[in-house]
């Protein structure tokens, strides 16, 4: 009836406060996942299953002259084929979030008249087996007329070759964020630093499990059933319902175990559409699509690429930044899809960790003939935070202030929290100077400074870099109205259910789609504290299922928020359940509610009357409600022991005209320090030492938090030194395999030393702050360390991706006098 007896190991790890929240419990999920007992979408076998393979455009930009599927259809075992034209004839284009001309973009899940990026699906084949589908896909003949490709956002702005003729321009959206008195700050500045161009490169995530969809369109009931690993299904079905003209409540989505997402799987809804349409054409048979690794690399989604032009920074005589002005140009790839939300999401961290009040950012987004972008760990904010960190380091070097001192002079002061940023965001808590102090202590800052000075005398190029970053979590969807006043979203919410099952088992259901974040474990810890039982006595059902009734329109796993939105919902549901259990137990035990105590007795979890010693266990309580209900008194007829709770964030819709308002509920922070040496012969940058200090407020499970800090750090180190989605001049993606993309592996990850401080959030019930995305701290940190290593050679790091080849080129160009002056200092 109940779960297994308490795990002694876990018991020992219960933290000193006597609460489960804060204990480093092993993850409940680990046993299942590490023994190969997880259930992933590709594990699902359905009767009459068919298999889909896409035919993809080899061109980045081409008109589709003809598509001939006859040879494929003639192959025995092929069930049907489907082309872009067929899709367009049956569906509406996907919703565009951008206003005005961008509303005219006609985005279908397969190319119709034109292919706009290499790898865009042009047709699909459905067959009785995956191998047959592969063979048949090769028989589809597509004739193309190549068009001029656009592979750079600044080139896109020239509109010489336009991707979406119906929109008339490659410019998707432009907005200006201006706060304070920027011109006055520049007039009064002691120094002005001008930076011509900086560029944040395109990279992606490489989850172990690629995208997988099974779609089944039941022709009799006109219902669609998806089994998939989309990580924001509540959002996906809003796109799919309008596109497929099916009522949203007739679309069922189920997720199970997911092998990583990092945001990238949010945008799998185009493939979900094709699987449903193919199922409909196949007479309602289920259609499974399993993305190959190279498909994932060229066509799932990439992170946003951003160029920063004409940056000007005003500083006073002490090196305090007083104003920043810049133009940002973001490249969202061939179709906006989730964009242009990134155009406003960046402003969640508008001033980063710094105090400047005056700023003007002109933000433009363009399309290009590259894979569409999607939310990628640190989505849109990491580009901006990297930009700010580059500014701080470049200014520090230019005016001769040490980078650590420069930060201390510019950080938001600890006593200023909660801190309202120039654009109205409210940072809940933080202590950036303390993080710097802890990180410097961990790495042995003074020792490294001495070693660096000695090494430089020997001609070695060693740099020490600091990166401070923010992980804003639990977003206010009202920020979408800043890019489009008609966008129908605002606030944020999450649902959870907590119940005593028919025979007393405590069952928790949440609407999230965990991909390794430990939602089962931390949910059990929260409920265990509410009911004063052991977490092993709680069953947590994770995975999204529209028929489980625990989701809202914002359910999913994204934006570093489960610890706030998800656990607040779980906590709320558990409190409701506890209240019902108390009422019921008080009646049965003939005592008052405040005489009751929750705990574990001889017969498992129970409620006991302190005055009489009488108790009733959970089985007894559940039995009264569900089985032996004739004994239930009239005043307890409303008790169900099955409690749903919807948590809602206390957000308001931002001021759309002023682009002002609170966009995020919590702000975790991280500070990393790296020591890097650039080899003088090979130019290979090697990390000699690395520390990461994290502040995510009250920690629910330190083991899980530490693991996520390591994971995010590894991802960021890979992005900074190894991983780039490189395209050639005609839009061929040159890194479409792991051999070329070289994702970071255990072999390349340095020994990362971890530190932690805690500044509890005043805005969450637990004091916890969302984390996990990591804010791409290593990219900022490694850029800073490389600049410190190479500054003596006249090099400014103005690209986020730096490998041996790019460092070699920079040094050689500088030696040859070919490197344009990147940075200019004006002393007033």
């Amino acid at each position: 009836m109940f779960a297994e007896a308490p795990n002694i190991v876990a018991e020992e790890k219960k933290n000193g406060s006597g609460r489960w929240v804060g204990a480093s419990l092993p993850r409940k999920e680990e046993d299942r996942l590490l023994r190969g007992r997880g259930k992933f979408v590709d594990d699902i076998k359905l009767r009459e299953m068919t298999y889909l393979r896409f035919v993809r455009s080899p061109y980045a930009h081409a008109r589709i002259v003809s598509v001939d599927t006859s040879a494929a259809e003639a192959l025995p075992g092929v069930v049907c084929t489907i082309t872009g034209k067929e899709v367009a004839a049956q569906t509406q284009p996907f919703i565009e979030i951008a206003p005005d001309h961008a509303q005219k973009i006609r985005d279908f899940p397969m190319a119709v008249e034109k292919a706009r990026y290499q790898g865009e699906p042009v047709a699909a084949v459905v067959a009785e087996s995956p191998s047959l589908a592969d063979d048949a896909a090769e028989l589809v003949q597509v004739e193309y007329e190549p068009l001029e490709p656009v592979v750079d956002s600044e080139q896109a702005l020239l509109d010489k070759s336009i991707l979406h003729e119906e929109a008339g321009t490659n410019r998707i959206w432009t907005g200006i964020w201006e706060f304070g008195d920027v011109e006055k700050a520049f007039q009064e500045a002691a120094y002005v630093v001008n930076i011509d161009r900086m560029h944040f490169h395109r990279f992606s995530s490489t989850p172990l499990e690629t995208n997988v969809v099974i779609g089944q369109w039941d022709p009799k009931e006109d219902r669609i059933h998806y089994w998939c690993n989309n990580s924001f299904p509540a959002f996906a079905i809003q796109f799919l319902a309008a596109h497929l003209a099916v009522h949203i409540d007739r679309i069922r989505v189920q997720t199970s175990d997911i092998g990583g997402s990092f945001g990238i799987k949010i945008t799998s809804y185009p493939q979900m559409s094709v699987c449903a349409l193919a199922s409909k054409k196949a007479g309602g048979r289920p259609v499974k699509w399993v993305e190959t690794r190279s498909e994932h690399m060229i066509s799932s989604a990439h992170g946003n690429e951003r160029t920063f032009r004409d940056t000007r920074v005003a500083l006073d005589k002490n090196g305090e930044i007083t104003a920043i002005a810049s133009r940002h140009i973001d490249d969202c790839g061939a179709y906006p899809r989730y964009e242009p939300l990134g155009c406003v999401i960046y402003s969640q961290v508008f001033c980063g960790t710094y105090r400047f009040k005056n700023a003007r950012i002109e933000f433009t987004q363009t399309v290009s003939n590259k894979c569409p972008v999607g939310p990628n760990r640190g989505y849109s904010r990491m580009q901006h935070l990297w930009f700010l960190e580059r500014i701080v380091d470049i200014c520090a070097h230019e005016i001769g202030i040490a980078p650590d001192e420069m930060r201390l002079r510019n950080y938001i002061r600890t006593e200023e929290f909660p801190y309202t940023t120039p654009n109205g965001c409210v940072y809940d808590s933080g202590n950036y100077p303390k993080m710097l102090e802890v990180a410097k202590g961990l790495i042995g800052w003074d020792d490294w400074k001495k070693k660096q000075a000695d090494a430089r005398k020997q001609g070695r190029m060693i740099g020490i870099g600091i990166g401070t970053t923010l992980d804003s979590g639990t977003n206010n969807f009202g920020q979408s109205q800043i890019v489009n006043p008609n966008a129908p979203f605002s606030g944020n919410s999450q649902g959870a259910n907590c119940k005593l099952d028919i025979y007393g088992e405590v069952v928790v259901a949440v609407g999230s789609c965990p991909q390794g974040q430990g939602h089962e474990t931390v949910s059990a810890q929260v409920v265990a504290d509410v009911l004063n039982i052991h977490p092993d006595m709680i069953t947590v059902r994770t995975g999204f299922d529209t028929e489980r009734n625990v989701h809202t329109g914002m359910s999913g796993t994204y934006a570093s928020q489960f610890v706030v939105s998800g656990l607040s919902a779980v906590h709320g549901a558990a409190q409701k359940l506890k209240a019902e259990m108390k009422r019921l137990a008080a009646s049965v035990l003939e005592t008052k509610e405040d005489d009751l105590e929750f705990g574990v007795g001889q017969q498992g979890p129970e409620i006991k009357a302190k005055s009489t010693g009488k108790s009733i266990n959970y089985w007894g309580l559940a039995n009264i409600v569900n089985v032996n209900s004739a004994v239930l008194t009239p005043e307890l007829q409303d008790v169900t022991l099955n409690c749903r709770y919807i948590w809602r964030a206390n957000f308001k819709v931002p001021d759309k005209a002023k682009k002002y308002g609170n966009l995020t509920l919590t702000y975790s922070s991280q500070l990393h320090i790296a020591v890097i040496e650039v080899d003088r012969d090979t130019f290979v940058p090697k990390i000699l030492d690395y520390v990461a200090v994290d502040d995510c407020g009250v920690v629910i499970n330190p083991r899980i938090v530490e693991g996520q800090v390591y994971g995010a750090a590894a991802h960021g180190i890979g992005a900074a030194l190894m991983e780039t989605c490189a395209y050639d001049a005609v839009g061929n993606m040159l890194t479409s395999t792991f051999s070329d993309y070289t994702p970071i592996t255990a072999v390349n990850i340095p020994n990362i030393r971890y530190g932690h401080i805690s500044t509890p959030s005043p805005f969450t019930y637990s004091g916890a702050k969302g984390m996990g995305e990591g804010g791409a701290a290593p990219i900022h940190t490694i850029s800073a360390a490389l600049q410190d290593a190479l500054f003596a050679q006249g090099i400014f790091i103005n690209n986020s991706f730096n490998n041996a080849d790019s460092i070699f080129r920079s040094l050689k160009y500088r030696e040859g006098g070919q490197l344009a002056e990147q940075v200019r200092l004006e002393k007033r």
Binding site: S57, Y59, P146, I298, A729, T737
Partner: protein, 146 residues
Amino acid sequence: MAIKFSGEFEVKKKPEEVYDFLTDPNRFAPLLPEFQSVSVQDPTHFTVKVNVGISYIKGAADLKMELAQADRPRRAQYKGQGAVAGGNVTMVAGFDLAPIADGTKVNWQGEAQIFGRLASIAGGLLEPLGKKQIQKLIDGLQAALA
């Protein structure tokens, strides 16, 4: 990715003879590396089937060729386009003929653009391989015109 090629050679044939050779698909096409067959649609259009293979990407390719410029006996230019295994290719190849004392000087130049998986996976190999194949074509032309 783009592969650019150019060069020159001399043959002991009159420009008219060289021109006629270059613009005759049945004589010119078999000199293409890994040639399998040619099918002539009209005097300026033909399709050549060739074998293509780089690493594990192997297969046959149909190249649709057009004689885009025909200025006898001074210049001939071909434009071609086709689906090759794992990608697509477009190409332009021009031959400028000039009379010399004992024959003709042939200046040749062109560019091939490779698209798709072939370029993504085999990008680094394509240029040296492409140049090697083009050299084979030129060697074949010289031999045929000798």
